[in-house]
Symmetry: C2
Subunit: 225 residues, 2 copies
Amino acid sequence: MRNECIDCECVLRSSVELKDCQIEMLGGHHALVKFRKGDSIIKQGVFSTNVIFLRKGMEKVHISGPSREQIVRLVKAPTYLGLPTTFGDKINQYSVTAVLDSEVCFIDLGVFKKLLGENREFSSYILMELCKSELEAYRRCASRTQKQMRGNLADVLLEFSENLFETDQFTLPLSQSDIGNWVDAGRESINRALSEFIQDGIIEMTGRKVKITDKKLLRTISQNG
Amino acid sequence: MRNECIDCECVLRSSVELKDCQIEMLGGHHALVKFRKGDSIIKQGVFSTNVIFLRKGMEKVHISGPSREQIVRLVKAPTYLGLPTTFGDKINQYSVTAVLDSEVCFIDLGVFKKLLGENREFSSYILMELCKSELEAYRRCASRTQKQMRGNLADVLLEFSENLFETDQFTLPLSQSDIGNWVDAGRESINRALSEFIQDGIIEMTGRKVKITDKKLLRTISQNG
DNA sequence: AGAAAGATGTGACATATCTCACAAAATAAA
DNA sequence: TTTATTTTGTGAGATATGTCACATCTTTCT
């Protein structure tokens, strides 16, 4: 099998120096897999001994709540997925589903841990990522509950345009139901709010294609709540 | 200065083997400080180059949200505090305030990082802690939004009795306002719900002293929402 | 002790969202 | 192409909580 890790633009290469022998090791213990939009990549409750590196695509992270499934996060490549599973009981603690066609690399957990132990730079990178996630979760919690729906929806649109797609024009990778789920609102409320945004000239929409036309106002809505 | 680390029941000793020279190093670069209930231990936005190990006590972790301060977590000793600050820009990313009298150990960040690099067992312990926090944050988010107030309040009471104090009788370390803030509810709602719980024979209260008398029912309320 | 600040009870009312109910579109499957 | 299935668009009514307004109580500070 050819060692794809050598060409991989993964975080390992870009921000962390790996020794050749370490790349070699990865090469021998991974599996590159493609997923289509809508496919489940990680399923909560299932036993797993892999870490997953997302090479291409975008995924929603969701966790089963008391009464329904809850989207807690949207991530885009490149990033690692399922780390919290790694260090616990090897049971996936949440689910990850592709919202865009994706390419993913399954890495053997043992190899991953070995790498962590050998490469200090790498382990501190992972540590940092985990810290960021935790903070992000806290911030999101505070926002979602203190703002009302329009503010949260504005946040989502800004998130898409600034972090996820990095353009003012993009195609929503989530249904209105999913967006509602993500921001703790009903589908209908999201729908109505989107209509308002269009009428107020903040965005234009054709199907799921969105164009942000008044980002300033969108920011205001995001802030005041 | 006497090396208190040698007697410290801290996580370093209990779950991770440290070499004598490493304990020595800690001893030379730390400061033990006592805080009284209500004192601020970590203040969001302030520059800091310390990791904090909580030896005794209980703290609330709060973060400034769009419109007000939001409690995101309650922690008890022994644990580390302020890790997310550690690996970022050295600015505290949230605040920590004592809700009970506490004893805390300020550890020099450099020393802490050195330890992380040298002791694989220790760094994997920290990694694990971070993973747990992240998951906990996700779960909490899902719960808080999907359950209604009574369910969340029940959760808080169970959290106190099962994780934080580990008894069915305890004294609430938070005001009703704080509890409300924590579970995303108004102070008044919490007050009314507590009265209901008392009337339904689920708990008894004298001032802030709580005694859980029907834990089974409390669990039911926690679950159904 | 006395004053000031904060914490707790409780009522009445406003309101942002949820929920239910259907119809029209758009996608996916056959 | 036709048939299912999933999304989206809108209305009307129900409701869980928030908000405001006071009246105790407590605790803290001077």
